[in-house]
């Protein structure tokens, strides 16, 4: 038997999901995270879940892990001290940061400018220059480079980055700096911009290289420590980490290229949603991952998640492929307030977080949150986490009453208002990834997960017209499930920047083939069989002069057969869909990428027994909740006792260890053959 273990470390909990690859059976476990050393929490979880399954850690063949270690290092400014070597005249490239000030007119008055990720005092210039064709126009000077490197070494930088102007076209100067660095500072890891990101735009390339270097030492420490601990616990299987783009990479590669991991956390939920969709026959999915402080949304079309070229973390936007996940500051902990001046009801982005948390959690929170509103309305019944966690409904009521008083409306109306506003914020994010990208949300199901996703999914689906609203199996540990069920992936990219009309097809194919070889070699090195590797090409195309490229993927055979014309035809179609017009301008081939993927996994979900038609089996008790402007009778069900084909009439609440699903009045939830709850409006069949 082959076991895959998915582990997702969040701020509060470490989620584990153990998957028996042969039977599809799985076990899940939640254990408190141990922020001082995450591996402790992970090991606690590993022992616990292996015990549950009656196996030993040595039976786990694949350890698959989503982590926010890199993300947090960036957000909290806890990355390494990075030295940066730039071209003469460009020392302040990070300081100027493209001159961008966020906010509207006069926004500069209130903008706190963040410190550059590589400090200006640790940034030094060297002579030497390439032009925009990659030709050297002035040489480098070894003596000057040695002096700069020595200065940075003596200053105590922990990582070195080199980012020279036009190095994306010719990296010879950067290479030489790298060679000298290996001599002068042999213990300091070196990142060269033309290797990390051989693409045009000096600021973005530098930032990405610096971000990578900054989190490398943290990541290296983390991965090595975890690997040692797991080995110590008897686990011999492979250790892989989830990339921001939803693929896996080996832990060794993660140490080299942690910039690919910055969205590892949210990517897990999306890959988990793909697995759920595959098993329940839903191919188009919008995901709604509701956490304590924020909500992540993504679009899956035909069981493929949309990807984008940039990863946004805090105020930084680095060039690394990531799933197109949008985040809004709307979660269970989002605080509701009414500003004195406008008397408007606002929810978030300020959050009570885990500490002090919502009032109902009784950890010291005093401000009304979304969770408190859910408690007041009866959507979150007395306990969470299987009954060990009591909620303070009276406290929540008192807090929400302050909102009601400020608005001059009733308590329940205020609570429902808070929920409506937060749902609207989620709706706004979902529109950005659907309607705004030319997709009709009515062609998609909406899947809610994370602690609070299944509470909001029904209402948001109603706003979107996206049915069914899906509460997947194990919504609270879907990220870990995603970690466990995705495949290996790697990619490489290059700037190309030529008109299609002036480009010889063979040249493009030759470059792509070369890149494909490189990426396949990486996977071969991971021990994957040649025959199991799939290659894919991606070409970024735009009308010459545009800033926005449309990424088009194509397999090597099709490209050889149909040529670049097929690519530009698809670009035109996509442009028309996105922006409602085409132009007679020349097509420009901007970037080329080669992607290599490991074997696709066929991991079935275990089936539930067929329903006996008697829902009382799963009913815990009668209940009351607020719906359509009044308190209404409802029922609470135990998810573990549901069977395939059960239909739960709304309003109803379905509870399980780590999550609560709300089925609203006027809707019903059907349990599918693998245990997902598919919520639809009662009238949809007549419509």
């Amino acid at each position: 038997m082959t076991y895959r273990l998915g582990v997702d470390v969040g701020g509060t909990f470490t989620d584990l999901l153990l998957f028996d690859q042969t039977s599809g059976k799985f076990w899940r476990h939640k254990t408190p995270s141990t922020p001082h050393d995450s591996s402790e929490g992970i090991l606690n979880g590993v022992s616990a879940i292996c015990e549950k399954a009656g196996i030993s850690p040595s039976d786990v063949e694949f350890f698959l892990h989503g982590t926010t270690v890199a993300t947090n290092a960036v957000l909290e400014g806890k990355g390494a001290r990075v030295g940066l070597i730039t071209t003469q005249g460009y020392r302040q490239v990070m300081q100027i940061a493209r001159s961008f000030v966020p906010g509207g007119l006069a926004g500069w008055i209130v903008w706190p400018k963040p410190e550059p990720l590589a400090a200006l005092q640790d940034t030094l210039e060297i002579a030497g220059r390439m032009d925009a064709d990659g030709k050297e126009i002035s040489p480098i000077d070894d003596a000057e480079i040695r002096a700069a490197l020595t200065q940075l070494r003596d200053a105590g930088v922990q990582a070195l980055t080199v980012s020279l102007v036009n190095a994306y076209l010719n990296g010879a100067h950067e290479k030489r700096v790298g060679e000298l660095a290996a001599e002068i500072m042999p213990d300091v890891p070196v990142s060269l911009s033309h290797e990390v990101l051989p693409e045009m735009q000096e600021y973005e390339r530098t930032l990405t290289t610096v971000a990578n270097a900054s989190v490398r030492p943290v990541m290296r420490r983390y991965v090595r420590n975890l690997r040692d601990k797991l080995r110590g616990a008897g686990m011999a299987g492979s250790l892989s980490l989830l990339r921001s783009d939803g693929g896996l990479m080996s832990s060794e590669k993660s140490e080299e290229h942690p910039v690919s991991l910055l969205m590892s956390g949210p990517a897990g939920g999306v890959t988990g949603a793909i697995w759920v969709g595959k098993n329940s026959g839903i191919r188009n999915i919008l995901t709604l991952d509701v956490g304590g402080t924020s909500t992540d949304v993504a679009l899956i079309e035909g069981l493929e998640a949309r990807r984008q070229r940039d990863t946004e973390v805090g105020h930084l936007k680095v060039r690394a492929s990531a799933l197109d996940v949008k985040t809004v500051g709307a979660g269970g902990g989002s605080i509701a307030y009414v500003p004195e001046l406008t008397k408007a009801l606002r929810v978030g982005p300020q959050s009570a977080g885990a500490v002090p948390g919502p009032v109902a959690y009784q950890k010291g929170g005093t401000l009304p949150t979304v969770t408190d509103a859910n408690v007041v309305l009866g959507y979150l019944p007395e306990n969470l986490l299987g009954g060990t966690f009591q909620l303070d409904r009276e406290g929540a009521k008192k807090a929400v009453q302050t909102i009601a008083d400020a608005l001059g409306i009733g308590l329940m109306e205020a609570a429902r208002g808070i929920i409506d506003i937060v749902n609207e914020n989620m709706f706004g994010a979902l529109r950005m990834i659907s309607v705004q990208q030319g997709y009709d949300p009515r062609d998609f199901a909406l899947m809610g997960f994370g602690g609070a996703g299944p509470l909001h999914v029904n209402a948001v689906a109603r706003l979107m017209g996206s049915w069914p609203a899906v509460s997947p199996v194990s919504p609270g540990v879907l990220c870990a499930l995603g970690d466990a069920t995705t495949r290996m992936r790697t990619e490489t990219a290059r700037s190309f920047s030529k008109r299609v009309a002036d480009t010889a097809e063979e040249d493009v194919i030759a470059v792509l083939d070369d890149m494909a070889r490189q990426t396949r070699a990486e996977l071969l090195a991971e021990g994957i069989n040649e025959a199991d590797i799939t290659s894919l090409f991606e070409l970024d195309v735009r009308y010459e002069g545009q800033a926005f490229e449309v990424p088009l993927s194509i397999d090597p055979e099709t490209l050889r057969r149909d040529g670049l014309k097929a690519v530009t035809d698809r670009f035109d179609a996509e442009h028309l869909r996105l922006f409602t017009f085409n132009m007679d301008s020349a097509h420009e081939l901007v970037n080329l990428r080669a992607v290599a993927m490991g074997p696709a996994l066929d991991l079935p979900a275990p089936e539930l027994p067929k329903s006996d038609g008697n829902l009382d089996r799963a009913k815990i008790r009668d209940h009351e909740l607020w719906a359509d402007g009044a308190m209404m009778p409802a029922a609470i069900y135990d998810r573990a006792l549901l069977q395939s084909g059960d239909v739960i009439p709304g309003p109803a609440i379905v509870v399980e260890m780590d999550s609560t699903t709300l089925i609203e009045a006027g809707c019903n939830g059907t349990v599918d053959h693998v245990g997902n709850i598919l919520i639809n409006p009662d009238l949809i069949k007549q419509a």
Binding site: R91, I96, Q201, R346, G428, M432, Q436, F579, F581
Partner: protein, 624 residues
Amino acid sequence: MPAQIIQANETPFATVAVDPVTLDIIENALRNARIEMDATLVRTAMSPGIREQGDAFPLIADYQGRMIVGQFGSYIGPFLEGYDGTVEDGDLIFLSDPYSVGGAISHCNDWLVLLPVFKDGRLIAYTSMFGHQSDIGGMVPGSMPIHATSIFQEGVRIPPVKIWKKGVYNEDLIKLVMHQSRTADWCKADLNALIASCRVAAARVVEMAERFGDDMFTSATDLLLDRNYRAMKHLIETSIGEEKVSFEDYICDDGMGFGPYKIKCTMWRENGPNGTRVVLDFDGTDPQSQASINMLLNENMMRMFFGIYMIMVFDPQILFNDGYYDLIDVRIPEGSLLKPKFPAALSGRTHVLGRLFDILGGLLGQKTPEFLNAAGFSSSPHLFYAGTDKAGKWFQLFQIGFGGIPGRPMGDGPDGHSLFPGFTNVPNEFLERYFPLIIERYETVADSGGAGLHRGGNGIDMVYRFLEDGVIAIHDDRWFVPPWGVNGGEPGARARKVLVKKDGTEIVVGNKLEDYPVEAGDRLHFITWGGGGWGDPLERDPALLAKELAQGLVTEKGALRYGVVLVDGAVDAAATEALRAKMRAERGPIETFNFGPDLETLRANCLAETGLPAPQAPKWATVA
């Protein structure tokens, strides 16, 4: 005659009750629609000015033309008043002539599209966007001749016309307009992008009205405007006094050797028959210029600027719209720099536009110095470089530069950043790839930010090496009258432009320059202004200066302005204490504003300090 609005369905919208939650939902939805407009634009526009720098502004207005979301306030009211035509379902209006909309757009380079949004035969909203075009013909590449003396020299001037008339596209019109431009491809793409953005927002508005009902939607937009009115009324009553306060600042020159030009504004609150109002009176502003630095200032735009500054200075939580316009009375003298008479040239109006923000800051903060920011909104410095390359291909660059953000109550002004919202620099690797030039230097100028407890941001020194013969033009300001400091902070350094010829000869060129020939191999130092300082520089932590010395942001000499003595990179504590004591003893009391030397002194020292002759006092033409 005002515009005639033709509706198949004349039923007036009913006012219905909107619960507070629905109201906030509609507000959020409108805000999202505006974000979509921006996103659509940058993805489809082609000119570097719009796609990289973001020089374009969206707006969604209610059916009466009042802005609900946007930035520069609604121009739809003045447009409707002056438009002698119909507004019908299927129309899309296009214009660029500032004089046809009371200055709501301020020069002909800004192309504006306006889409009346009809639902079920009724006009329910407007969506609109304008964006800066790279070239619209006229006497110079880039179409902003600083030396123009009439608007007829500034390229194609489009009165309000319909690109779509009741759903029928007027291809001939577009052909005619595009034929005037040196960069027709960019203009076509940018116009398409503006239209696509308006259509996206229109679709969202209709969806909203479908979701909530037409009456609910229009009632909600009324309430949003009203909410803003109440918030602003409260702000005005608590923050603006009845006593008159005045503030003056200057435009350095007009590009023809005359200057500086004074802009003066006096502000007070009065309690008239209609309740509380703020008066902004520009009496005392200099007459219009014979050159192009005039700005036809729309009163509503000024109201919007005032509101935004009030909000940003006193309470950044508020989302602004047009709702409070009745509270502000803007008085601009006819024939002045701010209300020139047709056909005065307008293409150099960016300097006045920028200066208005410094003036607003100075007016609002005068009585509450803790909220006061220093000066630094020089203008948007422009560089144009055009010619025909060796292969015979026309090239044309228009680039906006950035400078020092002023010292602020919250901290230092960022170095080399943009004061205009959403703008970014064009990546230098992009410039080198697509234009015949090399950017040899791109960094901020040490010590150029005014000293202060919170120092002003440094200006930028960007060095262009031109690879082809061609012509350049430069539009910048704050080279003669420095950006002022506040609360003890010192003025920032002034802007400067130096051309270094192939043989090493240095020529200080003007900051307003047209059709200046350059040769391949010439280097241009495009140096922008530094922000003014905020607060007493003698209070700044000396360790910070040591750090900034290592960072190359100040020099040892520059640190002396803070009374800080740096020796071998470290603070000499004893010498610093002594110097600070001496400076404290010698200086007079700290004034709220530090404008630097007076105009006469600036004139006397101009050539020595700037390398340029002092501008002569303007001569006023008799305007017919």
